[in-house]
């Protein structure tokens, strides 16, 4: 094995792997992307039913209705109201009047069908988007730290 052949081998190996990974990544990126929307943005720039979304806002007080397994409520950013439907167990810290991030798709009836709910101060999530929106309201959240 000469040095030139070895170098060629390295190059081919690296290149092939890179190509393989690149193709995988490009294909997966399309599917894996989740878009952030506020309720207003949903009305301003309708995302359609195909896009996987995260909606950040507040649970409007007085809108939570539970029918067995299914929960109906409204997510608002104090400008627009987005009716939401969620089937499953709500997180321990889900409260009316508190921040929430919901992940899912728009359904054909103009409601947001959530598949995942992350409540404010939930063990899971306090995204910047929600904290930005709620900075005025809660005040304390921005300075709070969560450790790695």
């Amino acid at each position: 094995m000469t040095r030139k052949k070895q170098r060629l081998f390295f190059l081919l190996l690296g290149g092939a792997t890179l190509l393989f990974a690149g193709i995988l990544a490009a294909a997966a990126l399309q599917e894996g992307m989740i878009y952030y929307y506020t309720p207003s943005e949903v009305y301003e720039k309708p995302p359609g039913t195909e896009r996987h979304l995260r909606i950040g806002g507040m649970v409007e007080a007085g809108t939570l209705v539970r029918e067995g397994d299914v929960a109906h409520f409204v997510i608002t950013d104090n400008k627009a109201r987005l009716p939401t439907i969620y089937k499953g167990v709500l997180p321990t810290l889900f409260r009316e009047g508190d921040g929430v991030v919901a992940e899912g798709n728009m359904d054909s009836e103009g409601r947001f069908a959530a598949s995942l709910i992350m409540a404010k101060h939930d063990e899971n999530y306090m995204p910047r988007e929600v904290s930005d929106a709620l900075e005025n309201k809660a005040g304390s959240n921005g300075s709070e730290g969560k450790a790695e």
Binding site: G88, T92, E123
Partner: protein, 649 residues
Amino acid sequence: MIAEIGQFSLALAMLIYLAQSVAPLIGIARQDLVWTQSARRMAYFNAFLLLVAFASLTWCYIASDFSVLNVALNSHSAKPLLYKISGVWSNHEGSMLLWVVILALYGAAFAFFGRSLPDDFQARVLAVQAMISVGFVAFVFFVSNPFARLDPPVIEGQGMNPMLQDPGLALHPPFLYLGYVGFSICFAFAVAALIEGKVGPFWARALRPWALISWSFLTLGVALGCWWAYYTLGWGGWWYWDPVENASLTPWLLGTALLHSLIVVERRDALKSWSVLLAILTFSLSLLGTFLVRSGVLTSVHSFAADPSRGLFILGLLGLVCGLSLLLFAFRASSLGAGGLFRPISREGFILFGNVLLSAAAGTVLLGTLYPVFTEALDVGKISVGPPFFNKTVLPLMAPMAAIMAVGPLLFWREARLADIMKKLSPALAACLLIMAVAWVWGGVSGNRLAAGGGLALGAWLIAGTAIEAWPKIKGVFHYRRKGWGMRIAHIGLAVTIIGIAGDAGWSEEQAKTMRPGDQIALAGFDIRLREVEENVKGPNYVVTRALLDVTRDGREITVLAPEIRHFIAPPRPISNTSIHVSLSGDLYAALASGNEDQGWVLRLYWHFLTPWIFVGGALMALGGFLAWGLGPMIRPKSGGKRQGLGNL
């Protein structure tokens, strides 16, 4: 007063690090041994100073000194002592202080254990480390000072996120940092080698222990994080491809690659430039991780409070460190010389292939993690890249890597015949196919189970292959060679983790129900009955609501699960605590979500098949790493005295 001692120590350390960056290099230029060797003493002293700083902050926490702003924001007098202490590093400023303390300790450790290395080389390494330290101590002192005073002081602290009152989470940052920061030594080795223009087996042999110990700690840190998430978050998830999780994974992937390429440098004097580059990149990724956590650039569970000035500072440091070192690499790599030749089918070839796969995986994880940053910067919109992306890209890269891990150790150096090796491995192949068949026939192939069955088979292949490689060593005279067994245990650890992941993904079950005392449900062959719910049970700084679940199987009593909700006082919020019954085949996992006596109690019950194997595997990997590192001296002194520079190695 104590806080001021800490403040002063930090400032002094910063100045001495400045000296430590410059004096040794002057010493080398002027061939003045006193200046060259001064680096060691400075490293010792800096470690002492930073320990003093850390001790003073810890003291302030233990004494609940609320005139220190950091303590007032993050502690509370009612917190148990253990969590007052762990509270020191569970906030941004304190954790950065821990970071620089560990940096100093590694420097001092290298100063001590590397005494038998050539003076010039050791001096250069310490100088590079000092340059990094100047940057980070300056960062702590000027932008993230934990000793800032609060005037007037408050009566009571704002408490701490009650989720942080947890042993797993208390240990997670220290282990993680012991990993991240250790790679700074590897980085310094690489830069020193580039400056000297020489890389060889001696360099690799000296570096490997540091890479091993950093890697082992990082493995533990990541595993602890996964385990904590698993038992805390209430869904039984242990990895979310969260940006900060990814930030700890990428240096781990490259660190694994570095570990293996150093073997090739040591044994065959090959892959030299590649190893130098890996060392630089691994540490750069550690720094990138630090940046991502603290800058607010990325949205994450883990993010500390967003502060743009902090982010910019670290980004600047990262740019300097990464940029300058890569520039140095570009100019000097060619002087490192070519190495030994080898054929593709050889141990070096397979190690290289593994390296390439690990690097590609690290690259795609980085891409997925940073993509949202770019799209937001380019104003394309706020997006995040979810788990499907990472699963679809990383798993197809890691699967071949796990497969070749069984073959590699059996191959000869330089060139090997694959046919012979595959014959040796035929029992492993048989085991693999058998397990795959059993999994697919018995377990089904719907949804995840097709891939999960493959995962089980892959794990079996790796275990069997490692056993076949180990067999001659066991059968013959039991000759204990540390590094060989370290490798085998670590590889088996990965196989165990793979099996755990496959089991969890393929055959876990879930039930979420509103239950009243006396209700019973069936889950994975178990019968689970809610006996009663205790309310208002008092804890140290919280009040507990606890559900008692009797678990039986075919009438036999298995266990009692007791998930809780803890209502904390400061700050007031409820936290759900899971109850887990661990067994060899899996975990019974219960979480109490919410509820009350009138409307019933909402419970989430899971059967997590083989999930404990994930964490056991992680521990095994770390154990293998520590074993390979050994507990002896960092480097066996070569016969003869010290030399200036690396000489002809």
